[in-house]
């Protein structure tokens, strides 16, 4: 066999189409970069099979099965959405083949739904929340959280809360994912915070949809009540609304201007060359996944036997646009740096530019291990 077949199952279409496409672009660039442009490891050609899960878990599940069996994929990457990922996990176990999860974030993927064929280069919700806690957590700060009312939002708030050491949480507000009018929710948060002494902060944990930033900005809370807004990073178009919050702090997974290392330089250069735009959140993720794959395959010298690969990957460190990542032995989650940022409103950019305050190293974050082996 002179080929290594990699199935990439992701949202080519569906609500997360834009995210999925970033991952795919990053993955291809990453494979290219990691193989020095040959797209081969140990003389075996890397073949990427793309499959579109349309954001539907049932479809993702059957596509993955078909990829492992009909398409003879040796290894699979993806998917974009957590729901799809969770449905896919048992398929990897059934076929005894590796699924490298990127960028689905749910904790359960490397938590209680995990099996030994699952690895993840993407960050999980806990990593997000903990790093954000690090950015917010100061003595005397009073915090209210504002999150979407579903598993992602509630888990995020819980992880955030667990990670806070100094600041105090006084209110948790959960709003429907489809909220369009934030007046009531913000009013409740403000009512909870406005009379508190010291620094007051709203921590926003929001993914996709319409985030509440414009509504928060319009209320002018800083001036009226001295309430600040904190949040994590996001894709570039979504960060347009950050322009209203110069000085806003938080922690992000990736922003192309932040990491300083040769891999990131290469990614940014390649991306500008190919698309005339900087790489985004999910491009970096796809790139990291590719780096992990090639590093592992090099270690097995191109062998795709699942047990060999697992052995090579457990505890493996690899270079990514975010610096070095390591698959934790226990749950196969890649531990990685996060970035504490502060927003600057730079007219040259259409989005609020996150400037690095501090890199939060993996060992600073006690990311809990939640799986059972």
């Amino acid at each position: 066999q002179s080929e290594i077949r990699i199935a990439h199952v992701y949202s080519k279409t569906g609500p997360l189409e834009a995210y999925g496409k970033q991952t795919q672009a990053g993955l291809m660039m990453g494979l290219n970069y990691a193989t020095g442009g040959t797209m081969a490891v140990a003389g075996k050609k890397l073949v990427v099979i793309e499959r579109d899960d349309q954001g539907k878990p049932d479809l993702g599940k059957s596509l993955l099965a078909a990829a492992y069996s009909d398409d003879k994929a040796d290894i699979a990457v993806g998917p974009t959405s957590s729901g799809v990922a969770l449905a896919m996990l048992p398929v990897a176990e059934e076929y005894k083949k590796i699924l490298l999860v990127e960028p689905a974030v749910a904790d359960a993927i490397t938590g209680d739904k995990w099996n030994k064929y699952i690895f993840r280069t993407g960050r999980n919700s806990s990593q997000d929340a903990i790093s954000n806690a690090v950015a917010t957590d100061k003595e005397g700060v009073t915090v209210a959280t504002l999150a979407q009312d579903y598993a992602f939002g509630r888990d995020g708030v819980k992880a955030f809360k667990d990670a806070l050491k100094h600041a105090k949480i006084v209110h948790e507000e959960y709003l429907p994912q489809t909220t369009t009018d934030f007046t009531a929710g913000i009013q409740r948060v403000v009512d909870a915070l406005k009379d508190k002494p010291g620094r007051k902060a709203i921590e926003v944990i929001w993914a996709g949809g319409t985030p509440p930033f414009n509504a928060l900005a319009a209320q002018d809370l800083k001036k009226r009540y001295g309430i600040e807004v904190f949040t994590g990073g996001n894709i570039l178009p979504a960060m347009a609304s950050y322009k209203n919050f110069p000085g806003m702090e938080g922690a992000t997974y990736y922003y192309f201007g932040i990491p300083k290392n040769p891999v990131n330089d290469a990614l940014v250069a390649m991306h500008y060359k190919q698309f005339k735009t900087p790489p985004d959140f999910f491009t970096a993720g796809g790139f990291s996944a590719a780096m992990a794959l090639v590093t592992a395959l090099k270690a097995t010298n191109g062998e795709t036997g699942t047990h060999k690969l697992i052995k090579a990957m457990e505890g493996m460190s690899f270079e990514t646009p975010k610096g070095k990542m390591t698959f934790r032995r226990e749950d196969h989650q890649a531990l990685q740096s996060m970035y504490h940022f502060r927003i600057k409103d730079d007219p040259a950019f259409a989005w609020g530019v996150p400037e690095l305050v501090r890199e939060i190293k993996p060992d600073e974050m006690q990311v809990p291990i939640r799986n059972k082996r």
Binding site: P57, D58, K61, A66, D70, G83, L86, L89
Partner: protein, 351 residues
């Protein structure tokens, strides 16, 4: 014999009969005729949808009730299996409990919805069911402790139905006999039985009264049929069959989530299949389901070929890109309404 099975409702067109036989044989031998996981998945989905669409046709085509809440019952069935097996483990008892519980819930809900349908006018009713279905979906994702929320539930079914169950060493006719195959044939038997049962119902005296109600409710009442009773009964029956279709889906997928069985998208697919196949004839459900699901499943592959062929013309390639498969599906919606105003079955019968 055949007359009894088909309840005297023959295809009444030679071509139609030939197509139906082909579909039956194709589904019966699918694992052997079309190898591969993907093909088997498509065939299984066809089986589920034939039942689902046929049950919807009882409501829409025969009784003339437009409801968008049909997938709600489909979802209840699927969740019934999912929740029961998650809680009770992968046993036959769990499957039975899940199915039974789901049927009971569907019965109660459909009674409520059915009775409400008499209070308001048809178009209002349609819109209300649209909203109710949306609310139910929201509710399902909110009750994450029970339903797994947005992420849904992944679960196991009894050993015999799992792909890992391989009773025979040797493959049979080049196909290895495993739990997946067994579960496919379970679905097949269920689907055939349920569709024949529905066929019997629509061709019974009861079925004719439903048609009369569809045509002129006022007059049906005037000649002595209690419309409330018939409409409610029809709602309930159709909901129960949809619930069973949902159970079939869950057994096959071993997964269920709000998007899989409750989404408006599924509802639209069902509607389109009814219309493509031909409203008010159950054979249409079978033909429509095959046409639509095969088109839906292989459209992207087809487009991939198309866009490669059109690589020279960038804008055409952009339109033919597999990523824009929905565009073509939309076109399918439009064209099928244009060209099959009475559905495939109506077309064939009027020749």
């Amino acid at each position: 014999m055949l007359n009894r099975l088909l309840s005297g409702d023959y295809p009444r067109s030679r071509v139609l009969a030939a197509i139906l036989v082909a579909i039956f044989v194709g589904l019966l031998l699918a694992p052997f005729l079309f190898p591969g996981i993907k093909a088997l998945n498509v065939a299984a989905k066809v089986l589920v949808f034939v039942v689902l669409v046929a049950s919807f046709d009882l409501l829409l085509g025969y009784t003339g009730i437009v409801s968008f809440a049909h997938t709600m019952f489909f979802g209840i069935g699927a969740y019934g299996i999912a929740i029961a097996t998650t809680r009770m483990g992968a046993t036959w008892g769990a499957l039975a409990t899940g199915t039974g519980g789901a049927l009971l819930l569907s019965l109660l809900l459909s009674l409520a919805v059915g009775l409400f349908s008499l209070r308001v006018r048809a178009i209002f009713f349609a819109m209300i069911t649209l909203a109710v279905a949306a609310a139910f979906q929201t509710l399902a994702s909110q009750l994450s402790g029970l339903t797994g929320g947005e992420d849904g539930l992944t679960f196991r079914v009894p050993e015999v139905l799992l792909p890992s169950f391989e009773p025979f060493e040797e493959p049979f006719l080049g196909v290895s006999i495993d739990g997946r195959l067994i579960s496919y044939y379970l679905l097949f038997v269920l689907a055939v039985t349920l569709v024949l049962a529905l066929l019997r119902i629509v061709n019974s005296p009861f079925g004719r009264v439903l048609q009369a109600i569809r045509e002129n409710e006022f007059r049906a009442e005037a000649i002595g049929y209690r419309v409330v009773v018939y409409r409610t009964l029809s709602s309930v029956l159709s909901a129960l069959f949809a619930t069973l279709a949902g159970c079939m889906l869950a057994i096959w997928l071993r997964y269920n989530g709000p998007d899989t069985s409750l989404s408006f998208e599924v509802m639209m697919d069902v509607l389109l299949i009814v219309v493509i196949g031909g409203m008010g004839t159950l054979y249409g459900a079978a033909i429509g389901a095959v046409l639509f699901l095969v088109a839906q499943s292989y459209l992207q592959d087809l487009l991939r070929l198309g866009s490669e062929a059109a690589a020279g013309l960038p804008w055409l390639a952009a339109l033919l890109s597999p990523d824009r498969w929905l565009l073509w599906l939309g076109l399918l919606f439009v064209l099928s309404v244009y060209y099959f105003p009475t559905g495939v079955v109506g077309r064939l019968r009027s020749r």
